[in-house]
Symmetry: C2
Subunit: 230 residues, 2 copies
Amino acid sequence: MATDSKAAVILLSGGLDSATTLAIAKDQGYACHAISFDYGQKQRVELDAAAQLAQDMGAASHRTVRVDLGVFGGSALTDAAMNVPKDRSDDDIAHGIPVTYVPARNTVFLSYALGLAEVLDAHDIFIGVNAVDYSGYPDCRPEFVEAFQNLANLATKAGVEGETITVHAPLISLTKPQIIERGLTLGVDYAKTHTCYDPTPEGRPCGRCDACLLRIAAFKSLGMTDPALQ
Amino acid sequence: MATDSKAAVILLSGGLDSATTLAIAKDQGYACHAISFDYGQKQRVELDAAAQLAQDMGAASHRTVRVDLGVFGGSALTDAAMNVPKDRSDDDIAHGIPVTYVPARNTVFLSYALGLAEVLDAHDIFIGVNAVDYSGYPDCRPEFVEAFQNLANLATKAGVEGETITVHAPLISLTKPQIIERGLTLGVDYAKTHTCYDPTPEGRPCGRCDACLLRIAAFKSLGMTDPALQ
């Protein structure tokens, strides 16, 4: 059991990956300051899930920051005129940059996390990006995370004063089943996570978008039913 | 006279430096899409100046994006409980990270500019940072700009597809008088720019904060009076 209580900033979307990341950071002994983003996403249920997870999982603090990505349009996740694709094959999911890509999303989110880290004097940032199931998002690759860490150390007081900021991406090389196994070991309640790109009006997962399909398949490979669908 | 009309995104604060940067980008033939940030700064007059400059200088578009830096506190520019320092000596201005530093500000702003660039299919971003008079801000140094450009090329569709995003910082090695001379050559009306960290309730520059002092001294060295103070 870790006893260190160094502060860390955790990007928490309310989804399966970020909930697992929070559990990992907590297990490593960090006092976890969670940050979520209201970026005009169509699915509001995600933000409710994030707030609930932060509370249930004992985050030291939780902030929801409103960001204006929607003004740029250009993504099916924020643009009311674009539809989230459904029932795509594994091959379609694995290749190409999908319409659900939000321009510069992780860059913007990590930048806010960096600002919060500066204010809290935290030198560790956790992000649940994953390069295995990343569905073609350029800003989920290890080289992106590394480049942001390099930037963080040049952009901040801490960097100038010779301290080091580390951007942790503990899921980066895990498959979705491996992520779930890790989270289950740490006690993550996946019924409370929300991953779907296009939930029903009642906030239930659609079961057909890329995010749902990846998640359902991962639970199935572990001999389980996705608890969020039960 | 340049005739190319490639799109570029220009960070436009409404101050002397960013107005000059816009003029330089325009002179280089770019269709200039200006972006300003409402980050809870105490001086609202800056945003009005940005909108007016974008219009007067023929920007192709202008957006003001509301960003939530204020929730983090930690800067005299956004935190009502902190005072902007006045009448500091040249030596004080030149050394150390001042209380007017806003955590991760340029990182956040450039991230939004990157998102806008992706949506507009622009491969050029202009920022008016300056390493000579930078008053100790870590995110105004050439190595910061370079690190962001590196990140931008890993974070985006354009980068993945083999195109190159360039972050231009045309003022980075210029002194303030050199910046002003350049802008005057390009027809910038500095009376319309706003630089002060702590303007009067009527929106007039205070003449005593670091930003005013640097600016006043620069015009004086050119044998001029700062037109914003006339």
